[in-house]
Amino acid sequence: MSIVYTIAFTELRRMFYSPLAWSLLAIVQFIMALIFLMLVQEYIEVIQPKFSTLDKPPGVTDTIVAAVYLWAGIIMLAIIPILTMRTFAEERVNGTFTLLRSSPISMIQVVLGKYLGLMLFILIMIALISLMPMSLYMGTSLDWGKLLASMLGLVLLLASFAAAGLFISSLVDQPIIAAVATFGFLLLLVVFYISGNSQSSYSELFIYLSHFGHFLSFLGGIFDTADLAYYLLFIVGFLGLTIRKLTDEGLQN
């Protein structure tokens, strides 16, 4: 198990050695800050006056917090592939994968280590994003349960993105191809959601298959074990495929 941590922390450290991690964090934070500002301004100028006439109006948690996490999820469709593309494809391009393969460790440890490293970075990113909705607490009261549910939803959503990205990175030799393929795959699942919801081709199956469908209920503050199970299956499935792919790699194709 200590090997898994070793690989994870080295992976995380190496991400911060390159400008990539820093610029990703900076750009995501900048874009999210703009979105957050926009949402707050809209709430103050448009929504609040309208709601003031209602008996039990929805609060900031529903209007701002949920929207922030939804936007974060959408932006991450493009960010996570850039993060995951390096994991195996770059090691292969640079010939450093030999180091792991010649070491007395199993591919299970390698894959779990790499995934854990990615997840640590993703958690840092989510923590930074979450600071913004939390800052509202200085001026008003927040529904912490809903906020935590949204946060958990985003963690699970990004964990599923990362698992898919890791697998695709293990398939190809070029990081950029891994990024494009992962982006395409994640978008495909979004398209499933959109097409499943469209009036002409409404499909429960498509909505179920899409990772976004399960994310939205978390944003509404609903913690459904079915959604949790979907994400866990998704993650375990892709990690399993990655392990299999790497273990079989030396064999005849």
Partner: protein, 312 residues
């Protein structure tokens, strides 16, 4: 098999598509031996080494490292191997020290022993002064040393080096060779190269691979006497009586090169030089030149490769 066998690979096969990269290679490496794997580019040296280090699964064949089967217990067997691949497996954005620390953890060296093994590897490879520098900023020669340092870090019984001196300048080559010779005193070393003098300078035994097959295998010591026919080039100041040369039993053939110079083909007689000197002195020939015309391994090598090509 005897305890002495540190690497034992039988009948290795591996093909890429239709093309057989390795077809029936056997490798044995005894304790404390330096084995040179020699062959032209694309002969299957690297493929063989990849299979021995568990980076590639052979289609067929058995490999045991230190008596441990590489396929049944890969994680145990790999502890006994240090491998320097053709392409350096180093992270350019880490410092030498960080990289070796990571490698030490990957190799499962106990936390308490890590410091000592890293120090030892740094010192052996002459990396002490650059240990805090980024690997990417080091010269090729130093990067190569980092590659060797990671291979010897866990004090493995077997060290496998794939073209360790390729792309280095002559001074660096000397240094790396010196290091390999030192390693050969304590470990079993196997190295691949297509540079003949390297094998002559470093190895106890040579195995020539051509088109995925072993075409030659022998100990280097005494190789000349056993295999090579030697050619001596002689030059004289005045014309000589060639018949007297021909009369010597071990001389097969004399080739005149003009202006009183000759190529003398000698077979199976090591002291021909001495013999010829004495003859020249006795006959009053004024000897101006006597040069051995071949490095022996090279003759064997080129000969084998040409013979194989002719057969194909």
């Amino acid at each position: 098999m005897s305890q002495e066998m540190q690497v034992l690979a039988k009948d290795l096969h591996r093909h890429y598509g239709q093309y057989y990269a390795v077809a029936g290679v056997n490798i044995t490496l005894r304790k404390g031996e330096v084995l040179g794997l020699l062959g032209p580019n694309g002969a299957g040296k690297s493929t063989t080494m990849k299979m021995l280090t568990g980076n590639l699964t052979p289609d067929q064949g058995e490999i045991s490292i230190n008596g441990i089967d590489l396929f049944n217990e890969p994680q145990v067997a790999k502890k006994h191997i240090g491998y320097l691949p053709e392409r350096l497996p180093v992270y350019c954005d880490m410092t030498v020290l960080e990289f070796l620390r990571y490698c030490a953890q990957l190799r499962g060296i106990a936390r308490t022993a890590q410091h000592a093994s890293i120090d030892r590897a740094l010192q052996r490879c002459g990396l002490g002064d650059v240990s805090k520098r980024l690997i990417g900023n080091l010269s090729k020669g130093y990067q190569q040393r980092v590659g060797i340092a990671q291979a010897i870090l866990h004090n493995p019984a077997v060290i496998i080096l794939d073209e360790p001196t390729v792309g280095l300048d002559p001074v660096q080559i000397q240094e790396i060779r010196h290091l390999i010779r030192e390693l050969g005193e304590e470990h079993s070393v196997m190295l691949s190269t297509h540079i003949l003098p390297e094998v002559q300078a470093l190895c106890d035994r040579v195995q020539i691979i051509y088109q995925g097959q072993t075409v030659f295998e022998d100990f280097l010591q005494g190789l000349e006497q056993r295999h090579a026919d030697c050619i001596l080039r002689l030059g004289f100041e005045e014309p000589i009586d060639v018949k007297k040369l021909q009369a010597i039993e071990s001389i097969n053939k004399i080739e005149s090169l003009g202006s009183m110079r000759y190529n003398v083909y000698v077979e199976g007689y090591q002291h021909m030089g001495d013999h010829l000197c004495k003859l020249a002195f006795a006959e009053g020939w004024k000897l101006t030149e006597m040069t051995p015309q071949t490095t022996d391994l090279e003759t064997i090598f080129l000969d084998l490769v040409h013979r194989e090509e002719a057969r194909a």
